[in-house]
């Protein structure tokens, strides 16, 4: 190891730099973890335990939930926090296990594209969702679509 210049943070064996950014990454995981626990366990309880559980899930069920702004916001916050928390966790695993710099760069890039792409896609789906598409089979739509027609 050559001597490090004073401006460069010391490297730990995994290759992570002890930088302020890493402290914020740690704080982010600590704060979003408990929030995600509440968001996701509620999500699982409502979708899998109440009513007919997994058997009830279809287009009309999703439409019924997203008719309420509460579930739109709930799912949006869950989407963003879960992907950032999971993406950051995966970044730490890449730092720990991908030793070659080029491989690390490729994996970090792929991770960034996946996380941002899925957040954008999911947000668009929530906010451009049409509960009563005109050309769809009416039997598959939520009951409130009859009033819309």
């Amino acid at each position: 190891m050559t001597a490090q210049s004073p401006t460069r943070p010391p490297r730990v064996p995994s290759g992570r730099t002890r930088h302020n950014a890493e402290k914020w990454s740690w704080v982010f995981m600590r704060v979003t973890g408990p929030v995600l626990l509440v968001l996701i366990l509620t999500h699982l309880f409502i979708n899998l335990m109440t009513g007919d559980g997994i058997s009830q899930i279809d287009f009309a069920f999703v439409a019924g939930k997203w008719a309420s702004p509460l579930w739109q916001v709930w799912d949006l916050v869950m989407l963003v926090l879960a992907l950032l928390h999971g993406g950051n966790g995966m970044r730490l695993l890449v730092n720990d296990y991908a030793q070659r710099p080029w491989l690390r760069k490729v994996l970090h890039g792929a991770l960034g594209v996946a996380v941002i792409g899925i957040i954008v896609l999911g947000s668009l789906v929530i906010f451009t969702f049409d509960a009563c598409p005109v050309d769809a089979d009416p039997s598959l739509l939520p009951s409130f679509c009859e009033d819309v027609r």
Binding site: G33, P34, L41, M49, G86, M90, I118, V125, P133, L141
Partner: protein, 123 residues
């Protein structure tokens, strides 16, 4: 690498492995889950067809595994925060590992009862 380390070869190390493995599994499921939900923007038929395959026995068991991974990751995450923040929790970190598995079992049993009833009962 002192013999008094909390991690190497003890409960804490195994929970560290559990945390990593469940985290990776949840991350990849999350990517797939947003993609399948996005089918609601294609058509009701497309969404219902793909979600219909999630109601088969094979996927029903995969979902049970996924819920197990989420519960373990969640409760172990709380344990990690507690052990970092409180000296009481640090002293009792071994018992807290048990607490994670007990809390996991307490939620998993009623969930499996209900979920597997839906998947295999054809309800």
């Amino acid at each position: 690498m002192s013999p008094t380390t909390l991690y190497r070869g003890h409960e804490g190390m195994w929970m560290w492995v559990v945390h990593r493995v469940t985290g990776v599994a949840i991350f990849f499921f999350l990517l797939v889950h947003v993609l399948d939900t996005s089918l609601v923007r294609v058509s009701p038929e497309a969404y219902n067809e793909v979600i219909g395959s999630y109601k088969t026995p094979l996927y029903g068991l995969v979902e049970a595994g996924l819920v197990a991974a989420i519960l373990l990751h969640a409760f172990n995450g709380i344990r990690i925060i507690a052990v970092d923040r409180s000296t009481w929790a640090l002293r009792h970190q071994r018992q807290l590992v048990w607490a994670v598995w007990i809390a996991f079992a307490v939620l998993m049993v009623p969930f499996l009862w209900r979920h597997l009833g839906h998947v295999f009962g054809g309800a």
